[in-house]
Amino acid sequence: MSTTPLLRASGVSKEFPGVRALDDVQLELRHGEVLALVGENGAGKSTLMKILSGIHPADAGTLEIEGAPFAPSGPRAANELGISTIHQEFHLMPDLSVAQNVFAGREPRRAGFMDDRALVRQAADLLRRLDIPLDPRRRVSELSVAEQQMVEIAKALSFDTRVLIMDEPTAALNDAEVRTLFRLVRDFVTPRTGVVYISHRMDEINEISDRITVLRDGRYIDTLDTPATTTREVIALMVGRQIATDVRPAPAPADRPVVLRVEGLSTKKLLRDVSFDLHEGEILGFAGLMGAGRTEVARALVGADPSTGAVEVRGRRVTIRNPADAVGHGIGYLSEDRKRYGLLLDQDVASNVMLSSLRRETRAGFVRDGAVRRTAADMVRRLGIKTPSVRQRAKNLSGGNQQKIVLAKWLVRDCDVLVVDEPTRGIDVGAKEEIYELLESLAAQGKAIVMISSELPEVLRLAERIVVMCEGRVTGVRDNAGTTQHDLMELATRFGGTAGEPHPSATTGDAR
């Protein structure tokens, strides 16, 4: 191994209007290593990667690959230099198939025309080699977020790549998929290649990375050898304070009234007879593998998808035909797909935060803009959203801060029942803990929360009871106390229906 690093960036600065995203930042990737890049939301990680992959030009600084200076003129140029990137925000063409997305711009041709059969074959080969169970002919718009992430990964690995940049590739994945991904990363790393790996999940970083570079507020802080460092130290460098982990929720009082009762929820596509109760002040966790149907439960519940079954709110049977009805009954839903179902990307922070509650901020039918901005600014402060002003467009915020905006929207709306689907997707450790505390304080105020998460530690950290799903069915309900990740995993992989508990149901209390 030579002493010249595979990739080096030094003195890189980048300014967006009103935001100094990067200030004299350096980064060095050695041959054959996985370098983790960590930092709080808005620290500048994605910006640095976008500079390396030719999406943004840097204001200052030099980039070298194998010691040779380079300046990618665009993403294609970066690819040709051997740098490929899995961006935090997906860049997929939803109307095209998986295969067409993976090989966009590099379609196999025959006699001047595209050879679609070869395209599908190549894609199928690639997916098989990567052990990603996806049909290459499926349309991307039909995929779940996790599956879309898989497409992005396959695409990045389809190049002849020396430097692989992964910007929060596991944010949408659950443990099983993370395993698959890590195997891919290990297979990828050879003495001539290297990986830059961005994540907010410390356990992953400990497992996969060789060294860790820390950014804070757009500045380079330090680079550490992973084996010689503890998570605690890294977090302290990132956020400048200590964070407690390994907490579990306090056992809940027994006699709380049922706020929401779901009975026999089914959809044409996936769900089979899903039932559960939700009590006042309770956080109910939902665990399961990709495609287990947790998101679909949430969508069916709020009327975003058609379904059959009964829903009772505080004992009263309600009909929910669309999310507006749901909100009318005090049920809010925070989607896992913030870009598609969460944000108005072209509108400002204030409009996004206030979208669900706008009606409340009107006088005589007119919107009180002053009040709207004040409330939004309050939320920005409370959640520590990094933005120059509430008039910044949502599009220009970092991924984690965008997620906070979506959360803020529902906090302002103040629903009795809040269904949060992957609420901490892309949120840094420090902020994550703040959000946990926030959810707990909401519960303490008597709100009921359904929390869907692919991170089992997160589920165990917050939920008093945990519903586990597999293939659209509830395969078990566990109380937090005494339950391990392994137990949940076992329930989540009960394929084939009949096996398992005879009548899995999350319903508690007396029958109807």
Partner: protein, 337 residues
């Protein structure tokens, strides 16, 4: 570093860059003032080119010529803000004029009732468009194209393919041509008042905010608990109401309902909206922009005519000037666009 191809900037959606920090609202204002500057340049040019251009009678003529299309364009702005389109405004306006004629002339109803009836006809057309788009999920282009044909057919059928005259309806022609404000025809006054109302509705009321939200991201708006279907129906109905008002104003100006008219007006209205900076993809739009867009169109036509430019050259000139005006606007907004 080398200059990037900035692939992130699509022509449609404004992307990150200079000026963004000051917030969209500030930028919007700047944008509008400068779009206004474009109009001023056109004005200045014609003032030099023709001594008659700046006479009040001519300015009045321009304003009057803007009124009908302008009123339609106000409504169209809301529809376009949602990412939809309304092709039925032209012939719809005619149907409203014809219905006003039926109410006032054939049925002899009182003036106010007839006028409200004409406007209500427009609202009804808009309601139907909205229901088709929202509940039957027919793409707006198709739904309103169909409505455009139906309205055209109905105008001819109801009127018996004959103009309906309002000569016997006392005061009807005063609606457009009377001068409540001395020197300013009421049609222009109605246009301005309607613009102010539309402006307030778009920027300050729920219907406008939700229209822009729907245009920005319909799915996210729905998941946020807004009844997107119902608000879309409301938006199309509102647009139809403006169409109805345009129909009444036109009928009043011509003192007759001409059933054969109207086709092609929808394109002018949409053009005014788009020149005014509202994106056909939805999510952004302003009423001031639309008013300026409509004024640019009619000022151009008037100026070229007053210069006695031959008709065929007028078309070329209008085309080129629109290109230039919009390009200048894009340049001004810089990388932001």
């Amino acid at each position: 570093m080398t200059s990037p191809t900035t692939p992130t900037t699509s022509t449609a959606g404004p992307a990150p860059a200079t000026g963004t920090t000051r917030g969209p609202r500030y930028r919007q204002q700047l944008q509008q003032i400068l779009a206004f500057a474009g109009l001023v340049v056109i004005f200045a040019f014609f003032s030099f080119a023709s001594p008659f251009f700046l006479e009040w009678a001519n300015i009045k003529g321009i304003l009057l010529a803007t009124a009908v299309t302008g009123i339609m364009a106000l409504g169209a702005t809301f529809v376009i803000a949602t990412g939809g389109i309304d092709l039925s405004v032209g012939t719809g306006m005619t149907l409203c004029a014809v219905m006003t004629g039926v109410f006032l002339t054939n049925l002899g109803l009182p003036l106010a009732v007839g006028v409200l009836g004409g406007i209500a006809t427009g609202a009804l057309l808009g309601l139907l468009n909205g229901l088709n788009v929202s509940f039957l999920r027919i793409p707006p282009f198709i739904a309103t194209l169909a409505m455009m044909m139906v309205a055209q057919g109905l105008s001819l059928i109801i009127s018996g393919t004959k103009p309906i005259y309002f000569s016997d309806v006392a005061g009807f022609s005063q609606i457009a041509l009377g001068e409540l404000v001395p020197g300013l025809p009421n049609a222009v006054l109605i246009f301005f008042v309607a613009a102010v109302v539309a402006g307030v509705l778009l920027s300050k009321s729920l219907i406008g905010r939700y229209a822009l939200s729907i245009g920005s991201n319909e799915e996210a708006t729905a998941i946020s608990g807004i009844n997107v279907r119902r608000w879309k129906v409301a938006v199309y109905t509102l647009a139809g109401t403006f169409t109805g008002l345009a129909g009444v104003v036109m009928a009043s100006r011509l003192n007759s309902a001409q059933p054969g008219l109207g086709l092609g007006y929808e394109l002018e209205a949409i053009a005014a909206v788009v020149i005014g900076g509202t994106s056909l993809r939805g999510g952004r739009g302003t009423i001031l922009g639309t008013v300026i867009g409509a004024l640019i169109m009619s000022t151009l036509t008037n100026g070229l005519r007053i210069m006695s430019i031959p008709q065929e050259w007028q078309k070329v000139a209008v085309g080129v000037v629109i290109l230039l005006a919009v390009y200048a606007d894009i340049l001004r907004r810089g990388k932001d666009a």
